[in-house]
């Protein structure tokens, strides 16, 4: 699942919850799913950031 797909699903869940038309049990399930997606997105962002910083560091150390 790509970051964009996760983020999109998370946004849909939040909107659904905010509309308030979900049943209580369903709302809990949605919320749990939302938290899971959030964690996944943050993980992907952290990985990307780490990669960028690593590349910048490596590029700068290889300055001609």
């Amino acid at each position: 699942m790509t970051f964009e797909e996760s983020q999109k699903e998370l946004e849909q869940i939040v909107e659904r919850l905010e509309r308030g038309d979900a049943g209580l049990d369903e709302a809990i399930t949605l919320w749990e799913r939302g938290e899971e997606l959030y964690k996944r997105c943050v993980g992907q962002l952290d990985a990307a950031q780490g990669k960028i910083e690593e590349l910048v560091r490596r590029a700068e150390s290889a300055k001609p």
């Binding site: 983020q7 939040v14 905010e18 308030g20 709302a27 959030y38 962002l45 590029a59 001609p64």
Partner: protein
């Protein structure tokens, strides 16, 4: 014409007259053509049948004697003087009495600067109509190898080489030295251009020649060269003469440079500036990547805050609805009526709805809003 030889044993010998006759006869079979040169030693005498002059090649001084019938010469009204450039139409001939080789002219045309310009202008129109000047390919940003077609005269070649090397020290250059002026130049340059284009890895060719007289630059307007430039498989930069000269090869080339130095600047980037720009781009790259990431993170954080609030919100909304329903339920219960001051009277656990249902001295139970107490009927 029959040329008789005298036989001395096994040796065949010709008289001078018959030899000349034979050569003259052979020469007369050659075609009539145009020859260009400068008029020198013009000799016209009203008593002579012919006018004589010598046609001189301005490039190397080669000479050719020319005769033309005086009546024909006078009819042309050229008023020629020594040193003038002419085109002579005629054929080779041997003056048999003297064994003199010369050209028998049928016509003479003065051919000056204006005529050259007019001829080039005609060629230019013709080639333009064919679309020869239309192909303009972009020059490579960084050619693997650079072809240089130039004369062995130092200036233009040196200018191109030093400028290229100064701008881009790692540049690889294939040099083809060739004639760049004189009658052999066009064909030689066509060959050089073709060879350099086929040399492998050559991505651009510079055709360079320093300044010169109008006539020096004429080969660069030669139809063969112009066509070769236009059809060259590799982009060509033309750098011929000075700013004000526009030989036709400039028009056919993919790019035109006003000087050989300018051509060098067109074919290679400045390595120093390039590195500098690359460095700036690289730091911009890291900045860009970080900002994309930050944007994503901000959006995600915002979404997460909304997600955190959402279930509480949902539960609170449901609780509010519940409270509302409870309120309505309570409003409908008898308890609310008691609070307004009413009481429920029970006798023997039955609600008393009529005064006749009880008799004096009978114990009753009275329920009010906050509890109940016993009483006795009077």
């Amino acid at each position: 014409m029959k040329v008789e030889a005298i036989q001395y044993g096994d040796r065949k010998v010709y008289t001078v007259a018959s030899f000349n006759r034979g050569v003259a006869d052979w020469l007369s079979r050659l075609p009539t053509i145009w020859v260009e040169g400068e008029v020198t030693e013009l000799r016209r005498n009203p008593r002579w049948q012919s006018v004589f002059f010598t046609l001189k090649d301005p490039a190397d001084g080669a000479c050719l004697g020319v005769t033309i019938a005086r009546s024909r010469f006078d009819a042309l009204r050229l008023d020629l003087s020594d040193g003038e450039r002419v085109h002579v139409y005629g054929r080779p001939e041997l003056f048999e009495a003297k064994g003199d080789f010369r050209m028998r002219a049928l016509s003479i045309e003065r051919f000056g600067l204006g005529d050259h310009l007019a001829a080039i202008e005609r060629l230019k129109k013709k080639l333009a109509a064919e679309g020869v000047f239309e192909r303009k390919r972009p020059l490579p940003f960084l050619p693997r190898r650079i072809g240089l077609v130039t004369g062995n005269d130092a200036a233009a070649k040196r200018d191109v080489l030093t400028t290229i090397t100064a701008r881009f020290p790692a540049a690889r250059i294939v040099v083809a030295e060739t004639y760049v002026q004189g009658p052999f130049a066009p064909a030689a340059m066509v060959d050089a251009l073709r060879d350099v284009a086929a040399a492998g890895e050559v991505d651009v060719i510079v055709l360079a020649r320093g300044g010169g007289s109008f006539e020096d630059l004429l080969p660069f307007s030669d139809e063969r060269l112009v066509r070769a430039v236009a059809t060259c498989p590799v982009p060509v930069v033309s750098a011929v003469g000075h700013e004000q000269d526009t030989p036709l090869c400039d028009l056919a080339a993919d790019a035109r440079a006003s000087t050989p130095t300018a051509a060098a600047r067109l074919v290679v980037p400045d390595a120093h500036e390039l590195l500098h720009r690359l460095e700036r781009t690289r730091s911009g790259l890291a900045r860009g990547a970080r900002s994309v990431l930050e944007g994503r993170r901000a959006r995600l954080t915002h979404m997460h805050e909304r997600l955190r609030r959402a279930p509480t919100l949902a539960v609170e909304r449901k609780r509010a609805r519940l409270e509302h329903a409870a309120g309505r339920l309570r409003a409908l219960s008898p308890h609310a009526t008691l609070q307004r001051g009413y009481a429920i009277v029970r006798a023997k656990d039955e609600i008393v709805r009529s005064a006749e249902a009880v008799s004096p001295g009978e114990p009753i139970d009275v329920e009010v809003a906050d509890g109940h107490f016993g009483a006795r009927v009077e």
